[in-house]
């Protein structure tokens, strides 16, 4: 049983930081950087929780996990029960424990954050999920009464998987359609192995398959079947669209199509999904060993790309970002990890031209130095050029990581889905309902590029609304 601790005793326990692979070692391998807490560390960390009567952390969680309860169970060493509590609200805890921006969510809302350090909720979630998985899972497969209703989930990324998890448990038949040959969407093609090992995604996907979710890979909805065909011909009663924001944005500067310029999507897909770093890989990648690699952008994807380049031997590997450190959208942990791995950061610079040789290969970039002006719509101070302050940098390989636009494939064949000027699908943020009957949407295809957990939250809200729609028939 857990020790009885006074408030003062709890406050005295220092926060347990995540054990990491040595920065030098890890900068040359693809193994996971974060090693995970030990059971002892997890229990001690959980004991820091004050078990607030009104737990603000839960309000900070986009899927409303009963954090106080699962942390209490960890302190009590009841790890399996803790996993069950998490899984009531989050079917992908091993993923979320790794990639959620906890500092802005649950941990940011922890009462300890002001005077102390917040309880390491993310580390604990990961610990519990890993504990459960490594012990072959405690998930009791309950008998579910089938409703006979069928739902098509388009996209096997975080939104689709979360939606499928809730629907299958509600007794609906669920088929998830995935365009690629592997399941997980951005979790497998986007997020690198060293941050989210693929076997973890696979284990969480396999659990859904065990519950009865059907998966169809290589199925590009919009091409092989339209939304209307899924509803009318294939006999689905509802469709959830969670296809993500999948069309890479480029800089719009001269030289962007030179050989040696990748979108972050292509660069990361070649490495993560196609494993071009493996000795027997069939999918090529330009050789990065001792090459000068530049990554444009300051988000998590930019950090993933630059740290990946580093692992493939890039030296130097540098982030070029047009605002300052303070505005960088990447998680603090990712920036910290990147710096420790020897990544260079050039801020307040914006590429204005990519330079190439006569064979069309990238040789460098011309940058414009920027300064910060007034805040823009995002609340961040807008970067503006310092006239005349330009410079050139030699670059062998560049990766553009400045975001994505919605993929047009679904819209082309479903013009009655209302969309915004940016091409995202219009859907009610609470219910995921679109302008088209029986069609729901959520995740990046609705919000534009956001986070894994926000997409999962949208998938779950849509699942609740789909259940209601299928029960009542009321649109």
């Amino acid at each position: 049983m857990a020790r009885e601790l006074t408030r003062r005793e709890r406050l005295k326990i220092p926060r347990h930081e995540m054990p990491e692979q040595d920065a030098h070692d890890r900068s040359v391998n693809f193994e996971e950087v974060n090693l995970g807490l030990t059971a002892e560390q997890a229990v001690a960390e959980a004991e820091r929780c004050l078990l607030c009567a009104n737990p603000t952390c839960i309000d900070g969680c986009p899927v409303g996990i009963d954090i106080r309860e699962f942390v209490r169970l960890v302190a009590d060493e009841q790890f399996g029960d803790a996993a069950d509590v998490i899984k009531r609200d989050n079917f992908l805890p091993a993923v979320c424990g790794r990639v959620c921006p906890q500092e802005d969510q649950c941990e940011g809302a922890c009462v300890l954050v002001k005077k102390y350090k917040p309880v390491a909720i993310g580390h604990l979630e990961r610990f519990v999920a890993d504990y459960e998985r490594e012990r072959a899972g405690s998930t009791s497969v309950k008998t579910i009464t089938k409703t006979g209703k069928r739902v098509a989930v388009v996209g096997s990324g975080p939104a689709g998987l979360a939606c499928a998890a809730d629907l299958i448990q509600a007794g609906h038949d669920v088929t998830v359609f995935e365009a690629l040959h592997e399941l997980g969407g951005v979790l497998v093609y986007g997020i690198p192995e060293f941050r989210l090992p693929k076997e973890i995604v696979k284990a969480e996907v396999d659990q859904l398959a065990d519950l009865g979710v059907r998966f169809e890979m290589n199925a590009v909805i919009g091409m092989i079947d339209t939304i209307d065909e899924l509803l009318a011909e294939e006999g689905y009663d509802a469709v959830f669209i969670g296809v993500g924001a999948g069309l890479p944005r480029f800089l719009g500067v001269p030289g962007e199509n030179l050989v040696g310029v990748y979108s972050a999507n292509e660069f990361l897909t070649r490495i993560n999904l196609m494993r071009s770093y493996a000795p027997d890989a069939e999918t090529p990648l330009l050789d990065l060993y001792r090459k000068t690699v530049a990554v444009f952008g300051g988000g998590n994807t930019a950090m993933d790309a630059v740290r990946t380049a580093r692992r493939l031997g890039a030296d130097p590997a540098t982030i070029f970002y047009r605002r300052s450190d303070a505005e960088m959208p990447a998680r603090a942990e990712e920036v910290h990890h990147a710096r420790a791995e020897g990544i260079g950061f050039e801020t307040l610079v914006s590429p204005i031209e990519l330079l190439g040789n006569e064979d069309g290969w990238l040789t460098g970039a011309r940058f414009q130095r920027m300064e910060l002006g007034e805040p823009d719509d995002s609340g961040r101070r807008r970067p503006q050029p310092i006239p005349g302050d330009e410079f050139e940098v030699p670059i062998d390989v560049a990766v553009v990581a400045i975001g994505n636009e919605p993929n047009p494939l679904i819209h082309r064949t479903a013009p009655d889905l209302e969309q915004t000027a940016w091409g995202t699908i219009v859907a009610d943020p609470e219910t995921g309902r679109t302008a088209k009957k029986a069609v729901f949407a959520g995740g990046d295809i609705v919000t534009g590029g956001a986070t894994v957990i926000l997409a999962m939250g949208a998938g779950r809200r849509a699942a609740a609304s789909i259940k209601e729609y299928l029960d009542t028939g009321v649109w």
């Binding site: 365009a179 076997e199 998966f215 979108s263 494993r275 993929n407």
Partner: protein, 294 residues
Amino acid sequence: MDGPQPGGELMNRILETRVLAPEVKYFRIEAPKVARKRKAGQFVIIRVTGTGERIPLTIMDSNPDDGWISLIVQGVGKTTRTLNELETGDSVHDLAGPLGMPSEIHEYGRAVVIGGGVGTAIAYPTAVALAEAGNDVVSIIGGRSREFVLLEDEMRAVCTEVYPTTDDGSYGYHGFVTDKLAELIADGPSIDHVIAVGPVPMMQAVAEVTRPHGIDTVVSLNPIMVDGTGMCGGCRVSVGDETKFACVDGPDFDAHQVDFELLARRNRTYSAFEYYRNEEFTEEHIHVDPVGSS
């Protein structure tokens, strides 16, 4: 490491193969849904093995009733050469499609369909569709030598005139497809639409032949692709100074607007890697015992 396989059934089974020319092979593959949905000009992405790369291949023909599509594959790199080792009864690991925008088919009047080498297999479905739309379809099908002139009989079945050409004069017209095209333009009757599919220099040359005459000309581009759904942007091409993604905006584009130099350069990105892989493939297939699989 793959996800759960739907139903565990054997997918994408090869129903028939035929060697058409050295390193050029015809495949008929079971793909019922793709067969029903595909239109002329569209392609599929194939992964031959569970560790293989994703390659785009334009669909040559299909039979929606019998549920198959056909492809013609030229063994140029390790992946295509590995694919060409497969026989009837084997299956490809992954097949996704149909992808890309279908070719635009209108009643143009007199349309010339030009295929260079295996480009003829890609041009063929467009010739069929143009004929069905009521066009007077003329085809020029070129090859290095006689054995590389493909699908002549199939073309004759849908075209009013078919002109095989060979670079070495071993068959048909002695010269390039563009030489024959220039002759047709000079001799009349006038040509209203041209579609050309083949190696980049050939398509570029066709564009230059038709440009001064203002003849509407379309090419089907073959840039390097990974996902084929717009996600990676690797297949970007410059068309009229705008960046387009061949997989979702194409693969057909206005030949007079395409930056062919850029396309050719980008297609050479991995030539060093391909060279190495090709050597490896050749070695494996020369030294390894006959049953050894790669």
